[in-house]
Amino acid sequence: MTLSWTVGEPIQDTKAPSGPIEERWDTRRFQAKLVNPANKRKMTVIVVGTGLAGGSAAATLGELGYKVKSFCYQDSPRRAHSIAAQGGINAAKNYRGDGDSVYRLFYDTVKGGDFRARESNVYRLAQVSVNIIDQAVAQGVPFAREYGGLLDTRSFGGAQVSRTFYARGQTGQQLLLGAYQALERQIAAGTVEMHTRHEMLELIVSGGRARGVVIRDLATGEIETHLADAVVLATGGYGNVFFLSTNAKGCNTSAIWRAHRKGAMFANPCYTQIHPTCIPVSGEYQSKLTLMSESLRNDGRVWVPLKKGDDRTPADIPEDERDYYLERIYPAFGNLVPRDIASRAAKNVCDEGRGVGPGGLGVYLDFADAIGRLGRDAVEAKYGNLFEMYERITGENPYETPMRIYPAVHYTMGGLWVDYDLQSTIPGLFVIGEANFSDHGANRLGASALMQGLADGYFVLPTTIGDYLAGSKGFGDVDQADVEAAQAAVTSKIEKLLAVDGTRTADSFHRELGRLMWDYCGMERTDASLRKALERIPELREEFWNNVKVPGDGEGLNQALERAGRVADFFDLAELMCLDALHRTESCGGHFRAESQDEDGEALRDDEHFAYVAAWEWGEDGPILHKEQLEYEYVKMTQRSYK
């Protein structure tokens, strides 16, 4: 093996208050020191990323009176990829009176995360969820409503209560526009200084604290330095390490990876979520994958032919020659089993040679029964926009022929390690939203990403960052040598990329890396596959640095240069993901180790040895593993069963 690692000191204190779980967040809020309003004006906070977490955080910090500098790589903060979330947002409102409660949402999230999340954080998330809905409605987010004028909810992704608020299939868009509008309001008020088409390329750490960022102005190519009293990273997940994913093309790991290299621990990098209902790959040129909301599984039935290699059209396959495998294997939950289970089941039937469509990498999602039962109009009212999107991409009409779907990388539960205050292991560096590791454990439940992003940004961070800033009494001047070193690192990387002048594009390397990760560190991982990946990644990285071709120069807009820089960081992250996956010899949530399964092929956890968060510290001689032991005082650890 090429990458060696060592075990360091365990993480003892996560800063979560003790006492009854219901009171912990109140306790923390009361204990948090406050910043005098006159002093807030003198404190600068940098927020990188403008999705649900970053947009809501920047807006809220501006409302509180801090001097905020906000950055995004897109041309407007409204473009951040939160905008693409379709299904909905969970909240323990119990407006339906169907038995939901803060405790039940907490319980479901801990269990859904396969007992690899921190209880204190998850409970707070469930508590705050109700405030998010209030906030969004007051901002004018047009959630779906009933005829009586009250909010509609639906059951989502395996939940047995109806707690998901939604805005047709565009919930992420509407929530993001709410946060974006709040952010624009603060920009107009002068509390937030917005920098669009600006990408963070390095973190400035000085005196042991995060004090700023080095940024490239993507339109002019200029390298800028911005200093602050605290830095917040809200830069999203790293699913694009697989090249093909449901992430936007620009999503990348560079901000959190640079922070990791500067001392922030990276937790559970191997926890990736593979979403079961995406449109399958159609050819070699494929640039991204498109998700079809899993709300479709509420009415669609998943099946493949019983026989291997059955190439008849779906209409020609009679009912008794179809295998509705989710309903067969999981009679209690049927088509609504959680994402990781549905994904792996699809992979298994395709591996058996029963997949459909190009390359046999697809399964049917069939609405014929739903159309028969509810009528075409009712199905159209519920899913019309999704059916249209499917037809636009595939050229097939899902009202007449079943959809073809296949799992795709969708979300990364891992991310920078944070304590209860959402602060990383670098003082003054806070990490929110998908960029951190907290709350979802080894598997995220549907409609919980929007909840976490907004909980962090509107409610948690604005309180906890105040405690950090109030304690500071001014951090003093930033050491110029630290600034210059960070700038030099950025400049030399750009020069190096441009100087190679090889014979392969950055995209071709990214595709190869992605394929390798999908094959060896994807839905199913084995000791052998991971060792192979760990051997192959450094070779490919070396070829990249010797043979990549980046056209043009560092001046002005150069999209190929942007991509090459991101790919370079993906190589390093990919290695840590495989190492994390290799060391965790149990299966849990989205991490399935083929060696650890029960007699029915279900994921088998090993609580005795692995009930911990794996927080990796960067080290010159290889990563250092710090374990944060997870304690379950409230939710008893059980093996998940959806049968």
Binding site: G140, L150, P358
Partner: protein
């Protein structure tokens, strides 16, 4: 199966592209012709441009700059005028969702950026749409600081109003409406936000001041006036209806003289 091409039904197409190349706002710019062969009908339009750019990169040429991000029709970042139509001829579709099965072997396709004075070209097909953000800054929000909201069920909203507000709220801010308008007007974009917030009870306190401020900002940015040609709604990927503009005008007129 429909008669439309699929990967198995139609071989690769050979296309001629005439693409606008412009190296920065100061450059005059010109159309440049490229040949792209063996294009799969299942490719998206942007994937077809990816293929061209990969080739240009290896040839040592400058790839074509274009904005894009989500590639699923919702972020609003992509946008180009294809054969004279913003986002191309397929209705209610963003450029990233346009697929090559709508073209034929041997076609010549012209590709240009949004053209409007308030959207200066950054490079090639990339334009600066920050004027849209400034219109939102002027009043496209409801003033409600985090933590100050009442319970979500405190104010019921009639379903019809909520649905109509939603229809207007689906605007993705791509700018196709401006590119298509003979006057370069941003009325549909501005009206969509005024309509979304003005239809909801939460939006009433600031309704008049919002319309006034947003319309004035729109004018200050240099967008043209609306003469009801309806080109905007015809190219809008989200089908924002034209009557939003009538609502905007009504709200704005109520503030006249105030």
């Amino acid at each position: 199966m429909s008669e439309r091409a699929t990967s198995t039904g139609k071989a690769g197409m050979n296309l001629t592209l005439k693409i606008w190349r412009q190296n920065g706002a100061a450059d005059r710019g010109q159309m440049v012709t490229y040949q792209v062969d063996d294009v799969s009908p299942d490719m998206s339009f942007l994937e077809m441009l990816d293929v061209l750019n990969e080739r240009l990169t290896l040839e040592g040429a400058d790839p074509v700059a274009f904005d894009h991000d989500c590639r699923e029709g919702i972020c609003g970042m992509c946008g180009m005028v294809i054969n004279g139509v913003a986002h191309g001829e397929q209705r209610a579709t963003t450029t990233c969702q346009l697929h090559m099965r709508h073209f034929r072997d041997g076609d010549t396709i012209t590709i240009e950026p949004w053209r409007a004075a308030p959207f200066p070209v950054v490079k090639d097909l990339v334009v600066d749409r920050s004027a849209f953000d400034r219109i939102i800054q002027a009043g496209g929000f409801i003033s409600v600081p985090a933590g100050s909201a009442p319970d979500a069920h405190a104010v019921p909203v009639p379903k019809a109003d909520a649905d109509a507000a939603f229809d207007a709220a689906t605007c993705i801010g791509c700018g196709a409406c401006v590119a298509a308008c003979p006057n370069g007007s941003a009325s549909l974009f501005t009206a969509a936000k005024i309509t979304h917030l003005g239809l909801l009870p939460q939006g009433q306190p600031e309704r008049a001041s919002r319309a006034k401020a947003m319309v004035e900002q729109m004018d200050a940015e240099g967008f043209g006036g609306c003469t009801n040609t309806g080109e905007c709604t015809a190219v809008c990927p989200k089908g924002i209806p034209l009557d939003a503009i009538a609502r905007m005008n009504a709200d704005y007129l109520k503030t006249a003289g105030k």
